[in-house]
Symmetry: C2
Subunit: 251 residues, 2 copies
């Protein structure tokens, strides 16, 4: 049985609290958050607390707070013997080096409070200061069930940037698609099968091979026509730059 204390009630924290409460071989002993609002309406095992000085002893402390709050929460755990791990993509392992046992447990997924995700499909990226600590994080990851990757801090940062491109930036392109639909009295749902197929295709085809469209076939007539049709300058700029980037790639 791995005893876990979870720290943080953001999107990652809420999703981990639910998952750890239902994971065999794991006991969620305690869930800390600065404010207690988040604890309402979420059913978890173990106690909850808003006091950093009330944290109990555990095998693993999983910190899921914002990068800026990380140092403060980490300091609050200085007397603990257990393994202190953060869950951030862009933060190096080293920031936890004031502890004896420390590591990183980075779930590579986008989390929101409104939509529950299936943790058994989420890649878990692990790093730790010793082999023994890495083994403990591996045990936790195996209990949760997601695909497991040993990733150092430099790789994790690159991965986080890649995640910004394929998740945050892609979602922004979806927003622009929705805006263009609204502008022409079209329902956004009309684009959803295309969005689903675009995401599905790269499971079997490398994205470079899956590239189609006016830029990929150097159809400068259509590109010029599209640029003229776009009413927002920001959309024009994005259309132009991404098209150029696709064309350069094909050179």
């Amino acid at each position: 049985m791995i005893n876990v204390v979870l720290l943080g009630g953001g999107n990652v924290g809420v999703n981990l609290a639910k998952t750890l409460s239902n994971t065999k071989g794991v006991r969620l002993l305690q869930w800390y958050n600065r404010s207690s609002t988040v604890f309402q309406n979420i059913k978890t095992t173990g106690q909850t607390t808003t006091q950093l000085n009330a944290i109990v002893e555990a095998d693993i402390y999983l910190i899921c707070v914002s990068d800026t709050a990380l140092t403060e929460v980490s300091s609050g755990l200085e007397q603990k013997k257990g393994l202190v791990a953060h869950t951030a993509g862009s933060v190096a392992l080293d920031v936890l080096k004031t502890h004896d046992n420390f590591g990183v447990f980075y779930p590579l997924q986008t989390f929101s409070k409104q939509k529950e995700v299936d943790f058994s499909t989420i890649p878990l990226c692990l790093e730790a200061n010793t082999e023994q600590n890495l083994a403990l994080l591996t045990k936790l990851a195996n209990a949760i069930g997601g695909p497991l990757h040993y990733i150092d801090s430099t790789q994790r940062k690159a991965l986080h940037i890649a995640a910004v491109f394929v998740n945050n930036f892609t979602n922004h392109l979806y927003t622009i698609g929705a805006e263009l639909c609204e502008e022409h009295q079209l329902p956004f749902s009309i684009l959803q099968p295309l969005i689903a197929e675009t995401a599905d295709k790269i499971k079997t085809l490398p994205p470079r091979s899956a590239q189609t469209g006016p830029a990929a076939r150097n159809d400068n007539g259509i590109i010029a026509d599209h640029l003229q049709q776009l009413s927002k300058l920001q959309h024009q700029k994005l259309y132009q730059l991404i098209s150029t980037s696709i064309q350069q790639q094909n050179e």
Copy 2:
């Protein structure tokens, strides 16, 4: 029974040839393509031809050739009494006005020869010169089974631009994700659950509400750090412009 002649052997043509061969209430009479190579290895009903002057009589002529070849193929059908329809997103209905009966049958999806798609999920965008012709295209669309939309030429052009954003441009962001993975000896598969969830989330959450990441929360420290980490100038430019666009949207 709707008798159809299909013209074109590109990605759309190949996928329609397979689908029409298996659609109840539709008979694929003939499939035309300039070269016969495409006919090999694809099992369809009806005859095949490479001769535009050998086209038989039919209820509907579906043209799936490139925008540039459209005029030539359309001219070859000038003596036909049936309904001549093109399948292009960016071409207005009017280009077919030399015919008595004409329309547009635009399937809003990304097609590749390597991956078969399920036509029953694909939005079919219809337009025609008369109510009667629109009814005939509606009958064909209903036989195939996809969600049906009546879309005029202006809307269809906007839709095509939206499709470029959510499909072509999104796929380019996937390519950049793959490049960043390669650069750091990481398998691209590690990003796939994130890509799938990003596409899935907007089925229940409007993309504007689903927006997360450094730009959405104005985390300029992380943005500056990411820009510094990116080794390719083109990646930096895209990161910068899309981040700015996300920030402007939140203002």
